[in-house]
Each structure stands twice: as C-alpha cells, then as structure tokens.
C-alpha cells in the first residue's frame, strides 16, 4: 500500500464557466506534480475512481474550496481507512486567488505569473484602464490568466464605469471577473455565504446585496457575452444550494439510472400538461375496466391539501428571484410527498392483481425538475421506488391551447403560463420518446383517444392472461 499521495481536485464551476482557467489549472497542476516528492494524482487529467484512491494510507488534498469539497466527498466514500488532509499551500487557481489582499480589488491581477515572463512577474497588479488591458492582451501566455477581482458593490461600480466606456480592450484581454472573498480581519471564520464552497469566485452567496449580484452579471456580459446565460445558470444553482461539483465528484451524471422495480399490479400512467384532459381519460378508463370486471383503482401521486398549499406558498416566495433556496426545496418536498403517497394505501395495491391508473406519474416530476430547475435535484434517485409503468401515454397539447382550457378554471398557478407549460411539454415529449410512450394529441376527439387507450389496456391484459 502506498503511504501518501498528493491529490489535485478536478476543475470546478469557475472553470466550467471560464474554461481558460482550467488550462491555467492544468499548468499549475503540472508544476505541482513535478515538485511533489510523493505520488501526485491529478483528478482533472483523467477518469478516476474512488476505489483507486483507497489504496493510499493518506491523501493530501490541495487546499482551497475545491479541495474542501473533495475532502467531504472522499471522507464519505472512503470511510476512516484513509487519512485525508488539506495542504496549506494550495496548488490550484483558488489558492492563488486566496492570496489576494484587501485593497487589490478592481485591479487586474495575473495568475500563474511566475511562469508568465519577467515583465509580468515583476508586477502584482495593473490598474483597470484600456492601456493596462492592452498590455495584458499582449503579454498573455497560454498558462496565464488575468482576473478582475471584485469584493463589494463599490468594486463593481468602479469596474463597470471603466468598462462601460469602451469594453473592447478589456474583452480582448480575456479578463475573468472573479468574486474574491476578503478574509475576515479578526475571527478567522469564513463568511457565511450559504452557497457550497465549490461555487467560489462566481458569486458571494445570498448575503450579498442585489446590486452586487446584478453588477457581477453585467461584468460577465460585457467581458464574455457568450457566457451570460451560463453565468445566470451557475448563479441560480449556487443560490438554490445545488452543489453540482459534489454531484460531479460522486459521478452522479455518469451513473446509469436505478433499475425500476416491477409490481404485481399493472401500472398505467397518463401524462400531459395542465388542461390536456388526463382526469377525464382516467375516469373513462376506470369505468371501462370496471364494466369488464377488472379490479381497478385511480391514483394521484400529486396531492392537494396542506401540502399543496405549503409548497405553493414556498414557490410564490421565490418570485422576483428571492429566497432561491426554496425554489429547490419545494421540488424536494413534492418528491417526498409522492413517496408518502407510495407508502400509504398504494403500497398494498401495488402487490395486488389489477390495474392502477395514474393521473400523472413520475414523469411529471422529471419534467418539473428539468422545466423549472434545468437540473434534477435527486428525483431520479428518490423516485426509484416507483415501479416502471406497463403503459405510458402522453396527451400532448400545445401550451397556447392548454391556456385556453385552463383559463376557464379560475386562478392560475405559477406554472400556468406559455413559457413554463411549453417547457413541461418539451420535456414530456422527450421523455415519451425515450421511454417508448404512445403520444396522443389532446386536441383529438375524446372518444377517439379513449378508443386507443382502451385498446392498449385490453392488449396488455390479454398478454397477461396468456402469460398466466
């Protein structure tokens, strides 16, 4: 067994947004590896597995926010058999930035300057002027990046004033706006930003005034217009407490979906956006099956009452980009409420012969995750207890037509608008395609669609009889 390895974490969100920093990271890592007296493992250089790291007695992780996130992940994955330490001298961009001192903000600051030539190495920073930007552009090396550190709203204002007059030279210089946390003067405690540490540099968390957040956005827009939307997405994930870096470390995006369980009852799922006619079709199918003497029940795993009123209230609190932690939480609460429904009367019915008709099934959750969050906050894992449906139909309806139908019902929900219904519809169509669902136009006559649904169910039941 090897005694100690030095470990460099993979690039994180800041490099996802500004890929040139990943290039700098690689150069810094290569130098760190060359200097290291022990085996140096660069997790950003190749596919890696936690199991491979388990053969070391001790892992010394490069310090900084990504190192802290990696220590948390490996601590859980490796258990107590491997000692984990954080090195005091970080070997990554974060470490370089952490050395910024108060008062250097709104200066252009070189990273990797030790290898960027004698002229730049002699300087710590340049003032934020077009002439400085031109010098940075001329002096840039492939392994050097320059950041524009921002610590507070005043820094943003000054930077915006300098850039707004003529952003071209600054854009050509490839400056990267970076939110630099100032070290607390006395207590030594880290600022309570309530965002996962891996989001460092992108924004300060939700303790910052709105003006600072808007200013950081504007800086990205002026310097890297093509990254404007990506920066907004990063910001929303960070403020909603989604730790995408931890999920990447855990390999969540590479893992195959959990294998769906089978139930004794036949599972029939109707999906569709609001107004598509699901409830009417479930009622029609139920009456049809009962007439044929088939044991049948209809279920809704999206329930109402206090639960629904509470999550609706939480959702409304997020309007205007406020309290974004609740934006993710209300989705988690909805997932959990469906698990409550599963572990109620439904659990016993799943193990009885018959047909269970679902007015929405797990696919609505999946559509809501992608539709509202552009990300799945563990729906795939939490819903793994639901059996796969034997039949899955999508009643497809354009958002405009759905709104016409909904308009007659009374007050609209936050999702009942053209944009959100359109997003739900797009995701449901994609899911239907990938899961082999039958897609029916909800604008077709009710009787025509019922005939198709009934024929499908009859075929399913006849196949069951043959098997029996």
């Amino acid at each position: 067994m090897s005694r100690a390895w030095s470990v460099l974490p993979p690039p994180g969100p800041l490099s996802w947004l500004h890929p040139e920093l990943a290039g700098l990271d690689r150069a810094v890592r290569a130098r760190a590896a060359a200097r290291s007296p022990v085996r140096c493992v660069d997790l950003g250089a190749a596919r890696w597995s936690t199991a491979a790291l388990a053969s070391a007695e001790e892992l010394e992780l490069a310090g900084g926010p990504l190192g802290r996130a990696l220590r948390e992940h490996l601590g859980a994955a490796l258990g107590s058999g491997t000692r984990l330490t954080l090195s005091e001298a970080p070997g990554e961009v974060a470490g370089v930035l952490a050395t910024l001192t108060a008062g250097t903000s709104w200066w252009l600051t070189p990273l990797g300057a030790a290898d960027a030539g004698a002229e730049l190495a002699a300087r710590e920073a340049l003032p934020l002027t077009p002439a400085s930007a031109e010098r940075v552009r001329a002096a840039r090396r492939t392994d050097a990046a320059w950041v524009l550190p921002i610590a507070d709203a005043r820094d943003v204002d000054e930077a915006l004033r300098a850039l707004a007059r003529d952003p071209a030279p600054f854009r050509a210089a490839g400056l990267v706006p970076f939110f630099a946390e100032r070290a607390p003067a006395t207590s030594g405690a880290r600022p309570a930003t309530r965002r996962a540490s891996a989001w460092f540099g992108i924004l300060p968390g939700d303790e910052c005034p709105t003006a600072l957040r808007l200013g950081l956005r504007e800086l990205v827009r002026l310097l890297h217009p093509e990254r404007t939307l990506a920066q907004r997405a990063h910001e929303n994930h960070a403020l909603a407490a989604s730790d995408l870096y931890a999920q990447a470390l855990a390999g969540r995006f590479l893992a195959p979906p959990p294998e769906a369980r089978r139930a004794r009852a036949r599972i029939v799922a109707l999906e569709g956006i609001d107004g598509s006619g699901k409830s009417s079709h479930v009622a029609g199918l139920r009456a049809f099956l009962e007439q044929r003497g088939v044991p049948c029940k209809a279920y809704k795993i999206y329930r109402h009452g206090v639960f629904h009123a509470t999550v609706t209230d939480l959702t409304r609190r997020c309007a205007g980009e406020h309290e974004l932690h609740l934006w993710r939480l209300q989705r988690l609460a909805k997932l959990f409420d469906s698990l409550k429904a599963l572990e109620g009367a439904l659990r016993a019915d799943l193990e009885r012969p018959g047909v269970l008709l679902f007015d929405r099934y797990v696919f609505t959750h999946l559509a809501a995750e992608a539709g509202r969050l552009h990300h799945d906050p563990y729906a795939r894992e939490l819903l793994a207890s639901f059996p796969a449906p034997d039949l899955f139909w999508l009643l497809d309806l354009p958002a405009e037509r759905a709104l016409e139908r909904i308009g007659q019902r009374g007050e609209r929900t936050v999702d009942e608008n053209r944009y959100m219904l359109g997003r739900y519809r797009d995701v449901l169509l994609d899911l239907a395609d990938r899961r082999g669902a039958r897609v029916l136009s909800a604008e077709a006559p009710f009787e025509a669609n019922q005939a198709v649904l009934r024929a499908d169910v009859v075929r399913l039941l006849e196949a069951e009889e043959v098997r029996a």
């Binding site: 859980a76 730790d243 959990f336 939490l382």
Partner: protein, 154 residues
C-alpha cells in the same frame, strides 16, 4: 397571527425525562412521514442522495405540520425532535434553506427540552432514519442558537 408554541423534545410527550412538557408530537400516530422516511434514509445510506436532502425534507416537514395545525386554529404547543438550523450546523452544511423555512413558519415561541445525547441518538433513529450526525454537536449547536434567541426551557 399569534405565536405558535413549539417544544424541542427529542423523545416527545412520552419521554422518560418529561421534558416535553406534555406537548403532543407534531406528527399523528404512524405518520406518513415516518412511513416514507426509510426510502430517503436508505438512499442517503447508499450514498446516492446527500444528507442535506434528508435534513431539508425534515425541515420542510416541520413547516407543513405547523401550517396544518394553524389551519385547525391551533397555536400549539407541539413537540418536535429537532430544530432544523441546529441540524444543519451539526452536520457542517452551510448551504441550506433553514432561514427561509423559519420565516415561512411565521411567529413561533420555542422552548427547549432535553439535550441528552442518548435521547437525541434515539430520536435520530426514529425521525432521521438512522444516526445521521453527531448528537453532541447538535446539542451544542442548539444550545448556541437558543442562547442567541433567548429560548427558555420547557
């Protein structure tokens, strides 16, 4: 809206130390929460879902139960095993929604019951589906929070 009274009593009204002051659990007997919890706890135990998800679901549950009681016109007291913000602090989770959920609770008056680590361990098994965090760390975090907010004893 009047202040809603909550008692933080890890073993509830039936606890051996009586620190719950007789307040009934916020949950009914054989609650849906307790039935569904093992599914989430198993996912956390398998490493497919992080602990913060489970703690967020518990925190949300507190809000839903208080709102449910409020809709019945009640003002408490109800017994809760844990206070969400102290759970996050004990678990070392800095990015969480406890503050927003507390704001959504409306005005509450909180009293502290037992902080006995073994009682907290038992409460974790029942209400968090297993030993999710260090009970002593939770007790310290709660004591700090209570001191800062001048919460009294039950």
């Amino acid at each position: 809206m009047s202040a809603f009274e909550l008692v933080l009593a890890p073993e509830g009204p039936g606890g051996p130390d009586g620190s719950g002051g007789g307040a009934p659990w916020a949950w009914p007997e054989a609650s849906e929460y307790e039935r569904a919890l093992p599914l989430v706890a198993a996912a956390v135990g398998a490493g497919s879902v992080p602990l913060e998800v489970l703690l967020h679901l518990y925190a949300y549950e507190v809000l839903e139960r208080v709102r449910e009681a409020r809709t019945r016109g009640e003002a408490g007291p109800l017994a809760l095993p844990f206070w969400p913000a102290a759970l996050f602090a004990a678990a070392g989770i800095g990015a969480h929604a406890a503050r927003e959920l507390e704001q959504a609770l409306g005005e509450v008056r909180v009293r502290l019951g037992s902080l006995d680590p073994s009682a907290l361990d038992r409460a974790q098994r029942r209400w968090l589906g297993g030993q999710a965090l260090d009970s002593a760390a939770y007790a310290r975090a709660l004591a700090e929070l209570a001191a800062a907010r001048a919460w009294g004893r039950a």
